[in-house]
Symmetry: C2
Subunit: 156 residues, 2 copies
């Protein structure tokens, strides 16, 4: 029951985080080869950082600990289904698997926007509640041209 | 043509970032009342942080500068349509609008996963390339119960 041990630990961290007043009721662990590499709790309100969700904090900390920007071979245990921001971060970090306890519907019932944001991201950019509009711009592709020309680039 | 001035500045920052070898070909500005509050460039490879996309860096910096976790009344200018991670972060920070120059299709042609991740997030969690699986757990809702009981919580 290795999964349950890690999830139990994450749930305890999330409860503690609420009691300590550091942020929302979420925690996450990054696990590699059966060992916890890093943990994170939601620190949005205590650090004035809207990106400081548990998974983001845990991923950043795990990458620091492992001195890499890729979490190959790691698994993430999170107390709640990751929101689109965190799921996006997971895709960029490329761990092998995510385990979660509560769902986006549970999060919605607790007052969090996760399910709403999932719906929004499946809409066209210009149809969303926060509209994203393309600004036609002659130099739009200049950064990609610069990237294509760079011979010693480090891909990620 | 205020929009173009900010976008031009972002594009120059993105090109510079590639030449400096700090990360990918992306930059973003947070603008409030016609003034640049913060800027960010992609720092993934130079800081070993897969979450250090231009928009995330700019949002974190803008929140630090404004001492808040909400970017109410701000607009974000980004050289490329934000990926799901960054768009998620934008929803949590709640600026009023996003302007972008290149599209997710341009990013895909340059070798970046943005469009792929958008497709993935619209699939069921268990059907994705990085599977997210629910772990049935008796205490799954304990953090939300703790949150509901907390009388002095700061919502975000």
């Amino acid at each position: 029951m290795g999964e349950n041990r890690f999830m139990q630990e994450a749930i305890e961290l999330a409860c503690e985080n609420v009691r300590a007043g550091k942020g929302g009721p979420f925690a996450a662990l990054v696990v590699k080869d059966g060992t916890v590499v890093a943990c994170g709790v939601n620190l949005v309100t205590s650090t004035n950082d809207p990106t400081a969700h548990a998974e983001i904090v845990a991923i950043r900390e795990a990458c620091r600990a492992l001195a890499t920007f890729q979490l190959t071979g790691c698994e993430i245990y999170t107390t709640c289904e990751p929101c689109p921001m965190c799921m996006g971060a997971i895709y960029w970090a490329r761990p092998s698997k995510v385990w979660f306890a509560a769902t986006r519907a549970d999060a919605a019932r607790a007052g969090f926007d996760d399910a709403f944001i999932y719906e929004q991201l499946c809409l066209k950019p210009e149809e969303r509640a926060i509209p994203a509009e393309r600004l036609t711009c002659e130099q739009a592709l200049a950064p990609f041209d610069e990237w294509a020309r760079k011979t010693d680039k480090l891909r990620y």
